[in-house]
Amino acid sequence: MFLYVLSRIARALITVALIITLAFVILRMTGDPATIILGPDAPPEAYEAFRRNWGLDQPLFIQYLSYFAAILKGDLGQSMRDGRAALDVVMERVPLTLLLTVPALLFNLVIGITAGIFAALNRNSWIDRAIMTASVTGFTVPSFVMGLVLALIFAVKLKVLPSGGSETWQHTILPSVTMGLIGAAIIARFTRSAMLEVLGQPYIRTASAKGLNWTDVVIQHALPNAAIPTLTIIGFMIGSLVAGAVVVESIFSWPGVGRLLVGAVANRDLAVVQVILILIGFTMVLANLIVDLAYGVIDPRLRHSTPAK
């Protein structure tokens, strides 16, 4: 168990380092921040000064090393726009994004897992078909379409909810539901197939043959086993919440990390974009680490390092 935990943590750390590197490479390869920040008409000396100021005149490799060293010291650079620490700029938006994503996550887990289990238990019935049709619709429709349709119905037509902004708690409903519905669609599908897989296993028949009634067979012998593959996709969902917020926050003019990212990319505010990319990567890695550790708790086969005799 100890070795298992250790190896998962090591893997997570390596992934974070790779993400940090990738953020650097992508941003330095896609255009000159000096031109974008100062505009095309600035005098050459201004460019020079800007580059020197931000270390952009150094060779790329040196830039990378000093960037990495700074991150290790907890210094993630300053916003090129207003000179404030990039980390602060991003962090003050994080709670706003959590305000959307946490309800969205709860919504998609509760709805998605329940729907998936019911679909599997009623395989090929109309319940199954209805749930799966809704699920396919849910994840083939792009999130901006889903968001716009919901806004059209509830804000424009029915006028029961605001279409954008962040003044009241009602403003969180449409963006959360948009994200939640899409997540629920994905979770439902995975839960269903995990359940079907498990329900076909010989140990389910053993449990029935033992005299357990069907409800107990499902609760004691199918759900714990189906949770194992479902966890993977839940980890993935948690990891992609911040990334998913980008589109939804833009549609509903919600001032969270997602909209900050859109603005920072447009302005080539390197440090801010970097911090957000690292934050997204970090959430993904953390979510996967938690999932890996949870696996160890649920699945005894992973917990024991000794192979079967």
């Binding site: 140990y203 053993t206 043959a209 033992k210 005299g211 649920i298 086969r301 024991h304 000794t306 005799k309």
Partner: protein
């Protein structure tokens, strides 16, 4: 001696039987229509008796017993009758059947490793059966589970209770399955290919264990196997199944000495020689037809070397084999083929050797 006996339908006395299956049929829903996989199976077992059920893979041996206990799921339609100790099981609700499952009728399966739930400890899985059928919980259940593991020959029983199936070998897991089956103190144990997934030495040990337990508890047993060696070793009576029907039924002795049906003769002819390599000889060419692709008439007709036009007329029913009152077979050409020598003279002794061979395995 008249041979008209085979026209008489074999009809044993009902009251002797612990379980009496009559005309059991199973139809599977395969999307737009049903396919019949069991065509009226008759089987019966007396108290304390071991019935061997033999036949190639796909003949319907497993689904017969799964159908009796209502374990085939919603896609299967079961009809016919299965009286267990006077109580009709076919048509009971799932809730009524749970009282029989794992209690008076216990099952063990072919692949013990996948028949146990990988995420639960062995002790918990046995305790579940003890709670359901004997009302034992907590310490009492744990103590009884330990005793059962001990009884089925698992050393370190107390420690094993806390282990998971993947930490045990296949043979050990089958012992756990047997312990779980014993938890309900069954009158009937259905052992579905209990040793097929195990190697020869372990196989012999498990069979010995079953024999001992049976002597001790007087439970009846349905031993399903495609291995005639195992059947010869264990069974009092034998039912031979082919393509969803019982095609021959007799005492083990009669069946191995005087097999009547060409299929049974083929199976016995296919027994590997104990001195030779241990692989199955291909004595019957071809394979069991799928339930959806049965030939007209006798299902065995397309593989039978004695086939005549009459065989395609309709499926033959079980009739007494000439001169015997406890031996029946479903073949319209019994009279014609009876006298043909199938080199069976040496078979009984071959089986005796095989039995000896299995016993040696235990000591080794």
């Amino acid at each position: 001696m008249t041979h008209s006996g085979k026209q008489t339908i074999f009809k044993p006395k009902q009251q002797d039987f612990l379980i009496d299956v009559r005309g059991l049929t199973v139809d599977f829903d395969i999307g737009n229509h049903y396919v019949r996989a069991l065509h009226g199976v008759d089987l019966s077992i007396r108290r304390g008796e071991t019935l061997g059920v033999v036949g190639e893979s796909g003949c319907g041996k497993s689904i017969t017993w799964l159908a009796v206990l209502g374990l085939l799921g919603g896609g299967a339609k079961v009809s016919g009758s299965a009286r267990f100790d006077g109580q009709e099981l076919v048509g009971l609700t799932p809730r009524q059947l749970t009282a029989f499952r794992g209690g008076r009728i216990a099952l063990i399966f072919q692949d013990p490793a996948s028949a146990l739930n990988p995420v639960h400890r062995i002790g918990r899985q046995i305790a579940e059966a003890l709670r359901l059928h004997r009302g034992l919980t907590g310490k009492a259940a744990k103590e009884e589970a330990r005793r059962l593991l001990d009884r089925v020959g698992i050393s370190n029983a107390a420690q094993r209770l806390n282990e998971y199936p993947h930490e045990l070998s296949g043979g050990m897991n089958q012992r756990v399955m047997i312990a779980m089956a014993l938890a309900g103190e069954p009158d009937l144990l259905i052992a579905d290919e209990p040793t097929t997934a195990l190697d020869a030495t372990i196989q012999a040990q498990i069979l010995d264990l079953l024999r001992d337990l049976q002597a001790e508890t007087h439970m009846a047993m349905a031993l399903i196997s495609h291995d005639l060696g195992v059947i010869a070793d264990m069974a009092d009576r034998v039912s031979v199944m082919y393509a969803g029907r019982v095609i021959e039924e007799a005492s083990a002795e009669a069946l191995f000495e005087r097999p009547a049906h060409p299929y049974t003769r083929g199976l016995i002819g296919a027994l590997p020689d104990i001195d030779g390599p241990r692989h199955r000889l291909e004595a019957i060419p071809g394979a069991v037809p799928a339930p959806s692709a049965l030939p007209p008439g006798c299902a065995f007709s397309d593989r039978c070397s004695h086939v005549e036009t009459i065989c395609h007329k309709g499926p033959p029913i079980l009739g007494l084999v000439g001169g015997e009152d406890d031996h029946s077979a479903a073949c319209v050409r019994l009279d014609a083929i009876e006298d043909q020598e199938l080199n069976l003279a040496s078979q009984p002794s071959k089986l005796v050797h095989q039995r000896a061979g299995l016993q040696e395995g235990v000591e080794a």
